[in-house]
């Protein structure tokens, strides 16, 4: 396995959640994990973040080994430089938007945290809302705070767990455009979990199809849509077994 840069993940276990995963995501690349609900996408994300420990696994990110069950290496979640946007956003309800972002800046000197947090909030277009608590923000604004907080960690990998599932369609369209814009400023691997094929095709460089905890096929969106490796991939992508004819 090439471990010089980017993210490399191998996870294997037969239960309680079956996993047979082998994937990698390069720097500046966005990889979408696509699968139906309950296919194990979020578990893979949690294993990368250190929130779930598989029986056997290897997680290497930015050349740093985070998990190697054979050698007994398991870096704890708070020591992995991961930016994770939870499906529910998981904002700290007792803190303001600014407080949420400052909390992810503990690795920085105290004197510069607030200014940096304001800059991250400005980057996601939340100027003027720094003093609001999560309950006083709309779904889309909460999601932006969650992204700002994830970026504030200055992560070596950005993990997005169904980030658009809790907002209405117009907001979703807007946020997708913003994410595409944001990608120009971020040069780390981004893993996006989604069950929405169109979203994956629109946003990701490559798509990894997951079914029952197993990585079935990884490829560029057009390749996957035209030539699904087998009927299971076609079923997950909601395609005819022979794939979609080229446009």
């Amino acid at each position: 396995m090439d471990s010089t840069g980017g993210l490399h993940v191998q996870l294997h276990q037969t239960g309680p959640i079956p996993l047979d995963v082998r994937l990698s995501c390069g720097e500046r690349e966005m990889l979408a994990l696509v699968g139906v609900s309950g296919s194990g996408k979020t578990t893979i994300l949690r294993a990368i973040a250190g929130l779930y420990r598989p029986r056997k696994g290897l997680v290497i990110c930015g050349g740093e080994v985070w998990l190697d069950t054979e050698r007994g290496t398991d870096v704890r979640a708070y020591r992995r430089r991961v930016g994770l946007v939870f499906q529910s956003y998981a904002l700290f309800p007792h803190m303001t938007a600014l407080g949420n972002v400052v909390t992810a800046l503990m690795h920085r000197p105290a004197a510069e945290r607030e200014a940096r947090a304001r800059a991250f909030l400005a980057q996601v277009h939340l100027q003027g809302l720094e003093g609001r608590r999560p309950a006083e923000l709309s779904g889309g604004q909460q999601q932006r705070v969650a992204i700002a907080r994830a970026l504030a960690r200055e992560p070596v990998v950005l993990l997005l767990d169904e980030p658009f599932s809790a907002v209405d369609r117009p907001t979703r369209r807007h946020l997708r455009a913003e994410l595409t814009e944001l990608r120009q400023t971020v040069d780390i691997p981004i893993v996006l979990v989604t069950h929405d094929i169109d979203e994956a095709v629109q946003l990701a460089d490559r798509i990894c199809v997951i079914d029952k905890g197993e990585t079935l096929q990884i490829g560029r969106p057009a390749e996957l849509l035209q030539a699904p490796a087998n009927p299971r991939v076609a079923a997950v992508l909601d395609l005819p077994a022979e794939g979609r004819p080229p446009p």
Binding site: Y78, F86, S88, F92, M106
Partner: protein
């Protein structure tokens, strides 16, 4: 009005709360976040003082603290006086009796924090200790305060266990609840009435605080 008894009760309540604040938080967090074999039995054991007759609990504590017991002998050897029928013995009994009153609301307080919020803390780079200070405590404090208020109010009103373990030694183990009983026995209805009214007011005040805090938790997570 038996002022020494009131002062003793307040001192007993304060010390009980002082001990149960850290120990209650440790036990409540353990029960809220960890899964282990026999957890149900551990919770049942800690809840026992809620359902056991105070005289039964008092009897066992008296046996455990008495001069014939290893603990009682150790205490006598080190401090030169028996543990039973002393303020220290009363305090130990009060702490044990109040464990469920303190721990259960604290446990509910910690359990009410969604798991992903604590995980988000770890992903922000917060160590477990920082998660405790920055996330657990600020979100669970209504449960923690409720536990302490209930334990304090219950200490003031506890009768059976206090009588069994402490007797009624003025200035040493005679609490306000025991004093009320003594005053009634002596046909001093006026003193008993004043002290009863005071305990009633304190109980109402304590319950008012706990219900207000419960609503606060409901609003935050609602």
């Amino acid at each position: 009005m038996d002022w020494p008894a009131l002062a003793l009760s307040l001192r007993l309540g304060a010390f009980t709360v002082l001990v149960l604040l850290p120990t209650g938080i440790v036990v409540a967090r353990l029960l809220a976040y960890r899964q282990f074999r026999g957890k149900g039995y551990a919770e049942a054991f800690l809840a026992l003082p809620l359902v056991l007759p105070p005289t039964v609990l008092g009897y066992y504590l008296l046996q455990a603290f008495g001069v014939a017991s290893p603990l009682g002998q150790f205490w006598q050897a080190v401090f030169g006086h028996p543990l039973a029928f002393s303020f220290e013995g009363l305090l130990a009994a009060s702490i044990i009796v109040n464990i469920p009153f303190a721990v259960q609301p604290m446990q509910r307080g910690f359990e009410a924090i969604p798991a992903d919020i604590r995980e988000a803390g770890a992903c922000c780079g917060l160590s477990p200790w920082q998660v405790f200070w920055k996330i657990d405590l600020p979100l669970a404090w209504p449960g923690i305060v409720t536990g302490l208020v209930l334990a304090f109010a219950h200490t003031l009103g506890e009768f059976g266990v206090v009588l069994m373990v402490g007797g009624s030694i003025p200035g040493e183990t005679r609490t306000i609840a025991i004093s009320i009983y003594d005053r009634v026995q002596a046909f001093d209805d006026q003193a008993a009435g004043v002290m009863s009214a005071l305990l009633l007011a304190l109980a109402l005040f304590a319950l008012g605080i706990t219900y207000a805090l419960s609503r606060k938790v409901g609003r935050r997570h609602g």
